[in-house]
């Protein structure tokens, strides 16, 4: 659509600049058809003034006002609860809670860690105690023999248990040492099966040897 076609509407609706209005009026004076078109539209527009204006029903406006009141009350309530003083209080409480929570969590974790470590250590100790009690007799025996060896060899025999719970005499083992060989032979001869292998109230599924009486 050409812009000039809408000039009638712009003129009638008073949406023209004063200079444009003047030009439009001049054009209407010169062009009779344009004048007729504008006047015809003006008459139709005047008929639109009869368009009815209707009020909404009272119950509808009352319901809306009630909603508006409720919303305003909620907003006032929300505003009150978020006064700056309260904001600071909430922030402080949050900071304290986070700090306390963090500390508690840290202490709890490290405590449980050390506890865990203690438990592990204790169980390891218990296990080693049990094993050592089982092996103590043989060890004592070995020790006594080893002492003899050390006396003879000049070195103190100190048997030790490796991580696989095997008694080791390696440090003192020297190839071709007959005394040591005899000591080892006699000590292993005296070892026998443990009849009731129980560690911490649980049956153990392994062969255990002891030099002590069951």
């Amino acid at each position: 659509m050409r812009n000039e076609d809408n000039d009638c509407i712009r003129y009638l609706m008073k949406e023209m600049d004063p200079s444009e209005e003047l030009l439009m009026e001049r054009a209407m004076m010169e062009d009779e058809d344009l004048l007729i078109e504008v006047e015809s539209m003006r008459q139709t527009l005047q008929k639109l003034d009869r368009l009815p204006k209707v009020d909404p029903p009272k119950e509808v406006t009352d319901a809306i006002m009630e909603k508006a009141s409720n919303h305003a009350a909620e907003r006032r309530k929300a505003k009150k609860s978020f006064k700056p003083v309260y904001k600071y209080a909430v922030a402080a409480t949050l900071a304290l809670t986070i700090t306390a929570g963090g500390t508690w969590l840290f202490v709890g974790t490290s405590g449980s860690d050390s506890q865990e470590r203690t438990t592990v250590a204790a169980s390891a100790q218990t296990q080693s105690q049990v094993q050592s009690s089982n092996a103590s007799a043989s060890l004592n025996f070995a020790n006594s023999n080893a002492e003899e060896v050390s006396k003879s060899g000049g070195n103190k025999v100190e048997p030790w248990i490796d991580r696989n719970n095997i008694i080791r005499f390696e440090d003192q083992f020297v190839k071709g040492n007959n005394e040591f060989d005899a000591l080892l032979k006699s000590s292993t001869k005296k070892l026998r099966l443990v009849n009731q292998p129980i560690i911490q109230g649980q049956h153990v599924k392994s062969i255990q040897l002891t030099g002590a009486s069951n």
Partner: protein
């Protein structure tokens, strides 16, 4: 009803412009400010919705939906730089168009008859006691004829006519609201007036023919 409402509103609020009233309601939850806003614009908004949908009950629903959105969204969506009424009008217009699209049909407002309330569009108009019964009848007939013809206009043209009539909206705003260019909005108004003129001419011709046949 409008008078009853306005009695409760002090003159202080009546002197304030929309912008101040909106600020009072938003900042202080001032109900009287909102009441004054409603009082000022409710007739235009309701008339626009009513003229577009042609049913009192549906107009009530859309009007209520519009103001529920206005109340809840005024804090977040409304920008104080713009005109409050233009913002409200956009909500009302969108709600009306949504309804019409759902219906997928044009509503002939002149022949619309509320089955629920047993009332016609013109039963809702304010009483004008000062004019005689004959004048009232003629006036009603003219209004009825006008509404009938407006109901016959394509929806786009009807929208522009109603927005211009009830809101005295500049064409720039009508163009923004209806998502078209200003020239398209002006063109729709022009075609609406041309079509209305044709419909009035046709009606006049028929009346003359009827008169001649009786004579």
């Amino acid at each position: 009803m409008k008078l009853e409402q306005s009695n409760h509103i002090s003159t202080k609020y009546k002197q304030l412009d929309d912008k101040d009233l909106v600020r009072f309601y938003r900042q202080n939850g001032d109900e009287q400010a909102f009441s004054e806003l409603m009082n000022r614009h409710q007739t235009k908004i309701y008339s626009y919705i009513y003229s577009m949908v042609g049913s009192g009950e549906i107009a009530d629903d859309i009007f209520q939906e519009t103001f529920t959105k206005v109340i809840t969204k005024m804090d977040d969506t409304y920008n104080e730089q713009g005109k409050w009424i233009a913002w409200v009008m956009r909500i009302a217009h969108n709600a009306t168009i949504d309804y019409l699209r759902k219906q997928k049909r044009f509503v002939d407002v002149s022949s619309n008859y509320d089955k629920e309330s047993n009332t016609d569009f013109y039963d809702r108009l304010p009483d004008e006691d000062l004019i005689s019964a004959q004048e009232q009848l003629e006036k009603d007939e003219a209004k009825s004829s006008l509404m009938k013809h407006i109901g016959e206009l394509p929806e786009e043209q009807r929208q522009v006519v109603m927005l211009r009539h009830y809101y005295e909206m500049p064409f720039k705003e009508i163009a923004d609201l209806t998502d078209v260019s200003i020239n398209t909005a002006l063109g729709r108004m022009r075609y609406a007036l041309i079509n209305l003129r044709k419909l009035f001419d046709k009606e006049k011709e028929q009346e003359e023919n009827n008169y001649a046949q009786r004579g």
